[in-house]
């Protein structure tokens, strides 16, 4: 499923509570705030403070709701930034996996066009002395994610790692 990443530029009045108020609808409609830059030093001539929010939201519909809510609250939106569709997939690998091998997987996925491993979580296994790793693959399209997954799958098969992907993908 593709999350949309949006860069929202707005201007807020320089009075306490305005930022919190402007961020509230984002979380209420399920948006995930990635960063907020509040630039008081760049106040406009009308005394407004420019704020840039980067947020991620599950689908476009939700983003439209956030936008109309902000507008109805009287928040001045000056720019809605490029929307990059970042698709993500979680896969789990476990078995006799080493950090070096994980490093190699990350590197090789990064070399594919439009994909990268954007998150890694590790756990040492108490039985068998192996390791479990959860990888989040990010990519611009389903196709790029598919090729990243195939790459990981071929490595897992060769090295006899157990690979698990989401039941909602493929098949």
């Amino acid at each position: 499923m593709g999350a949309i990443q949006v860069r929202l530029e707005m201007e807020l009045e320089d009075i306490p509570g305005q930022l919190v108020r402007a961020l509230e609808p984002i979380s209420r409609f399920g948006g995930n705030i990635k960063s907020v830059v509040h630039r008081r030093e760049r106040k406009t001539q009308l005394g407004m403070v420019p704020v840039t929010v980067v947020l991620e939201v599950g689908e476009k519909e939700r983003f439209n709701r956030i936008l109309s809510e902000l507008k109805s609250m009287g928040v001045r939106i000056t720019h809605v930034g490029e929307r990059e569709e970042m698709k993500k997939r979680v896969v789990l690998i476990s078995g006799p996996l080493t950090i070096e091998e994980l490093d190699e997987i990350t590197k090789r996925v990064g070399e594919l066009k439009g994909t990268k491993i954007s998150d890694v979580s590790l756990a040492m296994e108490s039985v068998g002395g192996g390791m479990a790793a959860r990888l989040t693959i990010s990519g611009r399209s389903d196709r790029s994610l598919d090729s990243a997954f195939s790459l990981i799958e071929s490595i897992a098969e060769k090295k006899r790692f157990l690979l698990m992907k989401s039941v909602e993908e493929g098949g």
């Binding site: 979680v90 108490s126 479990a132 698990m164």
Partner: protein, 334 residues
């Protein structure tokens, strides 16, 4: 309806009990009256062409064996005793399908309809049996072979008839689902939870067919054949079991909003069984010994059903559903 039961294990005994208990219900609701004219197991057979008495049947169920049996084989009884339906309930053999396969063929060749819970013959000779039934003009049902009490095949082939089924995804094995559920709850390794499941009688002494995913692969083979119309063989199902799943992997999955389930997938593109990540709120994320199946179809999009995948009483639900179905099909023919 005159019935022959071949196989008197847990499933056979559960069926007898449910049949005796619900005989008035079947008469009143469906106008169907049934007599069991013969029961056969590996040791012998009891036969009464006028129908075995309920008291005697229940006593046999209580004692777990066929009282006053004569030494006869299943095939002989099927051939010699006059009946409408044969219930083939012997243990599954996925290599040869026997003795179930011969039982089913003999029944069909002598003009008897067949209802079975036995995966073996279906995995080995699905097409052949379907064609034989058609050729001999008899009914053939196998709802209990997949999903236990869960009406997986009936849902796909009857209720969803207006849809094309694109893919089937299912948690189809209660034993492995129990093990994975307990591993997640207790953060415990596979071996320890397997031992616990064996002590509770949820896993068999030799659990390999379940934990290696082969039981699920059999069900996927049956679903691919019966629902998707693919001439699939068991060997074509890419199968992985759950023994490599660790509590740490389950924990990492949980932190990202997933649970680990042994899932069988059948579609035109893939036939596979293996541990998969299932989103925690996905309807397939059932716990304990439950089974669940999601059908991806063209109109209704996704339909999921879940329920008890094993147990003698639960399985008799599917067997008796098939019996009413066969009765109605025969009655319509006149």
């Amino acid at each position: 309806m005159k019935l022959i039961l071949v196989g008197f294990g847990n499933v056979g005994r559960g069926l007898v009990r449910a049949l005796v208990q619900k005989r008035n219900f079947f008469l009143k609701e469906h106008g169907m009256s049934c007599e069991i004219v013969a029961v056969v197991d590996g040791h012998g057979a009891v036969v009464d062409e006028n129908g075995l008495s309920f008291r005697r049947l229940l006593r046999m169920v209580e004692e777990g064996n066929l009282i006053g049996s004569e030494r006869k084989l299943g095939v002989e009884i099927i051939r010699e005793v006059d009946a409408d339906v044969v219930f083939e309930l012997t243990p599954t053999n996925i290599k040869t399908g026997e003795p179930g396969l011969t039982h089913i063929k003999t029944a069909m060749r002598t003009g008897k309809s067949v209802i079975t819970s036995n995966k073996g013959p279906l995995v080995v000779a699905f097409r052949e049996l379907e064609e034989l039934a058609k050729k001999r003009g008899v009914e053939f049902r196998y709802s209990a072979s997949v999903g236990g009490a869960v009406p997986v095949i009936g849902l796909a082939k009857r209720i969803l008839m207006g849809n094309e089924v694109l893919a089937i995804r299912g948690v189809l094995n209660g034993t492995t689902n129990y093990i994975l559920t307990r591993m997640a709850q207790e953060d415990a390794p596979f071996d320890i939870v397997l031992k616990e499941a064996q002590e509770l009688g949820i896993a068999e002494k030799d659990p390999s067919l379940d934990i290696q995913g082969i039981d699920t692969a059999c069900k996927i083979t049956i679903l691919a054949n019966s629902v998707l119309g693919i001439d699939a063989k068991l060997g074509e199902v890419k199968t992985k079991g759950i023994s490599g799943v660790t509590p740490e992997a389950i924990r990492l999955a949980r932190e990202a909003g997933f649970t680990v389930k042994l899932v069988g997938i059948a579609s035109k593109r893939t036939l596979e069984v293996g541990p998969k990540l299932v989103p925690i709120h996905h309807p397939l994320a059932v716990s304990g010994t439950l089974n669940a199946v999601t059908f991806e179809v063209d109109l209704a999009r996704e339909i999921t059903i879940s329920g008890f995948g094993a147990g003698p009483r639960e399985t008799s639900s599917s067997l008796l559903g098939d019996l009413v179905d066969v009765y109605q099909a025969i009655s319509q023919r006149g």
